[in-house]
């Protein structure tokens, strides 16, 4: 089935998310949509899937104009979508989720899930999914949930499958498996639209690449194009993919985490017996697929978790059992992974956000009364220093772009003399220009002698910033390796192999694979894992 988009425009009020986008997806091809976070890829796909109504433009399926007033129309036309945030009802079973919207029923609308179960088993067998139709979705790991989403589309006979940033929640190995599934689907005649901002993945799997920047198509490329070329198309100027940073000069070790275990209310171990330390003037990057305990690690340090065992010592002081306030006062700067959820109060002004954890200190307040003049002056200074693009520091923080919001958070957290700096996903959803700026500030803090912990699910960022790299898997520390380690090694560790086992495995396979496949793309070692 051939799909064509002609002049699609979608605006939200004054904001134009998609600007006259033209795109042709040929039958049976894997067509990648490459672009930065916020370039407008997801919006475009939501238009295609009938979730948003386009402001202008038309969609053609097999050269016939179609009009989608909702996802039902898109599905009827043979379009299926796997959303970045899964569209599964957590309290339903797999079968109920798959059936929803296309249920088989008996007399009086009575549900009959047998048919659905049979189809799920059939598709599972074909692709080796191993999905139990009667499992509750909320109890499944994310990788399996993603497969449920794919089954959902296939049960509806999707001829075009849209995958929106599907690898964000997967390990490199799981990503390889997904790519194999994509190739299998393609062999069966399904067209795939693959949305990603990860160059390596796009190069590995695509037949055609279309690059989108600021809501516009800026060109298309061949998968064999050079990485730097794709990157500069995506960003709009030549970018250095590597950060100039001097080697670390580690000082004494002032931050130690010993046998740290974090549990949730149900008693599950989210972080399991983790031990490591960070020296002054050193960046420890924590890698891992999302949801493997990184969030819990940083939150445990900050004192946000109730059920914490073990010890966290900063400068000789135990932090476990302290309140957030006390931890911050002990000299910890903290950039949370989700700035809009945890880092900023969206409707507060930039000035207010810049004192969100300093408001009780003089000179910002005295005797419980805030000093607005001082707060405003502070804001002017910080906005200038961190190059926050805004009309006024009295504007609400949620009027800022992602990158500028992140600058506000960083400006606030670096405003105090720090003994430890922790940043989670410091550049998620941030434009490339801001990324460079943010990275430089983080390295500058390291060079000033502060121990720094960076948590990131982006391997590129981990490799760029980390002087040493720790890898978490299922709440356990797989090991700490030097900053210049290979992607393969980190990938195996992110998939659950301890560092030495991963090294041993790489040494064993090096003869067979070295040099013949692009880094990180090949199905490295499936057969040998058991």
């Amino acid at each position: 089935m051939k799909l064509e988009l002609k002049g699609i425009t979608k605006s939200f009020g004054a904001l134009i998310a998609n600007d006259h986008i033209d795109l042709v997806v040929e039958s049976g091809e894997i067509h990648s949509l490459l672009g930065e976070n916020g370039a407008g890829k997801s919006t475009l796909m939501n238009v295609l899937y009938g979730l948003y109504e386009p402001t202008a433009g038309e969609i053609l399926v097999d050269d016939k104009t179609v009009k989608f007033s909702g996802p039902a129309d898109a599905m009827a036309a043979g379009i299926g979508m796997v959303h970045q945030h899964f569209m599964l009802v957590p309290v339903f079973t797999v079968a109920e989720n798959v059936a929803l919207g296309a249920e088989s029923t008996g007399p009086g609308g009575i549900l009959n899930l047998e048919e659905t179960r049979r189809k799920i088993r059939e598709i599972s067998a074909r692709f080796g999914f191993d999905v139990d139709p009667d499992a509750l979705v909320e109890e499944l790991p994310v990788g399996v949930q993603q497969r449920v989403e794919i089954i959902k589309a296939l049960v509806r006979n999707a001829k075009i499958l849209i995958l929106d940033e599907p690898t964000a929640v997967l390990t490199p190995q799981e990503t390889d498996e997904l790519m194999d599934i994509m190739r299998q689907l393609k062999a069966g005649g399904t067209s795939i639209v693959f949305i990603s901002h990860k160059l390596r993945e796009v190069k590995a799997v695509s037949d055609t690449i279309t690059v989108i920047r600021r809501g516009k198509v800026v060109g298309s490329a061949d998968p064999s194009a050079a990485t730097t070329e794709l990157a500069s198309m995506m960003v709009g100027r030549s970018v250095s993919l590597t950060l100039d940073k001097a080697d670390a000069e580690p000082g004494p070790v002032t931050f130690k985490v010993t046998n740290l275990t974090v549990m949730n209310d149900a008693g599950q171990r989210l972080l399991d017996d983790v031990t490591f330390s960070v020296a002054d003037g050193e960046i420890l990057a924590v890698a891992g697929v999302q949801g493997n305990g990184q969030t819990e690690l940083t939150e445990a340090v900050l004192g946000l978790h109730k059920h914490v065992q073990g010890s966290i010592v900063l400068d000789g002081n135990e932090l476990v059992g302290r309140s957030v306030r006390q931890v911050l006062d002990a000299g910890v700067g903290f950039v949370p992974e989700d700035r809009q959820d945890d880092g900023l109060v969206g409707e507060f002004s930039i000035a207010e956000n810049l004192v969100l954890d300093l408001y009780k200190k003089e000179p910002y307040s005295k005797f419980g009364s805030m000093n607005r003049a001082v707060i405003a002056k502070n804001a002017e200074a910080k906005v200038a220093e961190f190059d926050v693009r805004t009309q006024s520091s009295q504007d609400a923080a949620d009027t800022l772009s992602g990158g500028n919001q992140q600058k506000v958070v960083l400006a606030r957290e670096l405003a105090r003399p720090l003994k430890l700096f922790i940043a989670s996903q410091p550049t998620r959803g941030v434009d490339v220009g801001s990324i460079e700026f943010l990275h430089k500030r983080i390295v500058a803090e390291r060079d000033a002698g502060t121990p720094v912990i960076i948590v990131s699910t982006e391997l590129d960022e981990v490799l760029e910033l980390g002087d040493r790299i720790a890898v978490l898997f299922a709440g356990k520390l797989m090991g700490i390796v030097p900053g210049k380690s290979s992607r393969e090694l980190l990938g195996l560790m992110m998939a659950g192999l301890p560092a030495d086992e991963a090294r041993a495995q790489l040494d064993g396979t090096v003869a067979g694979t070295a040099g013949t496949t692009p880094a990180g793309t090949a199905g490295t070692t499936e057969g040998e894992r058991s």
């Binding site: 916020g38 957030v324 306030r325 409707e347 207010e352 954890d357 408001y359």
Partner: protein
């Protein structure tokens, strides 16, 4: 176009916690909408008054013979009712006594507990909590104030201060329960406060049969307050307006400072707008929930004091009337701002004072006031509806920047 145009993530609008969205909706509407909402509500009220007036239905019987008669009947029906409402709430030259002419002071009297309880709802609202429980907090405040007011005998001034303090404590306890449960167990404050309203009524009915009963009466009613325990009347014995009004105005100023100037208010607003970010910034969200509900409950408790020590003199189960529920509409009409709440309370106080006069002089049931009040709030909460009625362009803000 300005040069520094803001580039947002072109992702769909971020989903935010519902509380913050509500706060923003309530606070961001403009004054025109508020005025128009009042107008539309009054018009609908007028229609109700007209269609239920027998004179109008009689005249409409010969509508085609004499349409003018129908319109004049409608006019006299509605104008009499609203005229009586207006005069009753402000100045009525036709009243028999000169005290009766000055309805404005009745307005102030009715407004006093509304200001205090409206502030209670406003304050909690800004911290992201829906305090539906002002009713129960008023009852508890009045019960505590009453227990001190007629159960103890203290010198002047001291007795009144003790009564005020007791009332605040009573309300604070009742509000604090909801805050505590919200903070410690996550129990939804709307449900808890609704339930506490009814528990408060049962509790007071029980107390009125036992500990707080007036031994000389067979009804569930308490003894009268000591003279020392009463708010002094501001304008002498001819008017009911009492010193509770001063307490209420001080409370408006106090809550204004608390919300806009103090570090505590900064915390409350941060918690209300984004509790997770507040927590990450080192604020104690659960302590915030508890303290804000304590203060909110105390304010509602003061409204109970204004009732028992201002106008009612003794406790019964009807002490709170409908004040606790009116407080919610007052806070919404006042857009959750302290002075907005003050003026909204004045308006609703005027409705109450005028509604009584309307019932007597124009034979229009005071229930119409509840209808008009609720319509006002509905219209204010839905600006697009008012805009479509009056065909006002919605794109005000965008137009301004172009």
């Amino acid at each position: 176009m300005s040069e520094t145009q803001k580039v947002k993530d072109p992702t769909p609008p971020v989903k935010e916690s519902q509380g913050s969205q509500v706060v923003r909706e309530i606070m961001s509407g403009n004054a025109v909408i508020s005025v128009l909402a009042v107008v539309v509500a009054l018009v609908i009220g007028g229609i109700l008054i007209a269609v239920t007036d027998p004179r109008v239905s009689t005249a409409s019987g010969y509508f085609f013979a004499d349409p003018g008669a129908t319109f004049s009947a409608i006019w006299s029906s509605v104008s009499e009712a609203y005229g009586a409402l207006w005069r009753g709430a402000t100045y009525d030259p036709t009243a028999r006594t000169w005290q009766g002419q000055l309805g404005i002071f009745e307005t102030l009297t009715f407004a006093t507990p509304l200001i205090l309880s409206g502030l209670a709802v406003t304050l909690a609202f800004r911290a992201g909590l829906f305090n539906i429980g002002a009713q129960g907090q008023i009852i508890l405040g009045a019960a505590f104030a009453g227990a001190v007011g007629f159960g103890m005998h203290l010198p002047p001034v001291i007795h009144l201060l003790a009564v005020i303090l007791a009332g605040a404590i009573g309300g604070a306890i009742w509000g604090g329960i909801a805050g505590f449960l919200k903070a410690k167990t996550g129990a939804h404050e709307v449900i808890v406060t609704i339930m506490l309203n009814y528990i408060a009524i049962s509790l007071v009915l029980y107390l009125l049969k036992n500990q707080l009963k007036d031994p000389t009466s067979t009804n569930p009613i308490s003894p009268q307050m000591d003279a020392n325990a009463m708010f002094p009347l501001l304008l002498g014995p001819n008017f009911r307006v009492h010193a509770g009004l001063i307490v209420a105005i001080l409370a408006v100023i106090g809550v204004g400072w608390l919300l806009n100037r103090s570090t505590l208010g900064f915390e409350y607003r941060a918690i209300g707008a984004n509790p997770k970010a507040a927590r990450t910034a080192g604020m104690l969200v659960s302590r915030g929930y508890i303290t804000v509900m304590l203060i909110s409950g105390a304010l509602a408790g003061l409204a109970g004091v204004a009732q028992i020590a201002g106008t009612e003199k003794s406790l019964d189960s009807e002490i709170a009337g409908s004040i606790g529920f009116d407080a919610i509409t007052v806070a919404l009409l006042g857009r959750s701002k302290p002075w907005g709440t003050f003026f909204a309370a004045l308006l609703f106080g005027a409705f109450k004072a005028g509604g009584t006069s309307m019932a007597v002089n124009a034979d229009v049931s005071i229930d119409i006031v509840a209808v008009v009040q609720s319509l006002i709030v509905l219209f204010i909460a839905a600006p697009p509806l008012i805009r479509s009625i009056f065909r006002i362009k919605a794109a005000r803000r965008e137009g301004a920047s172009a």
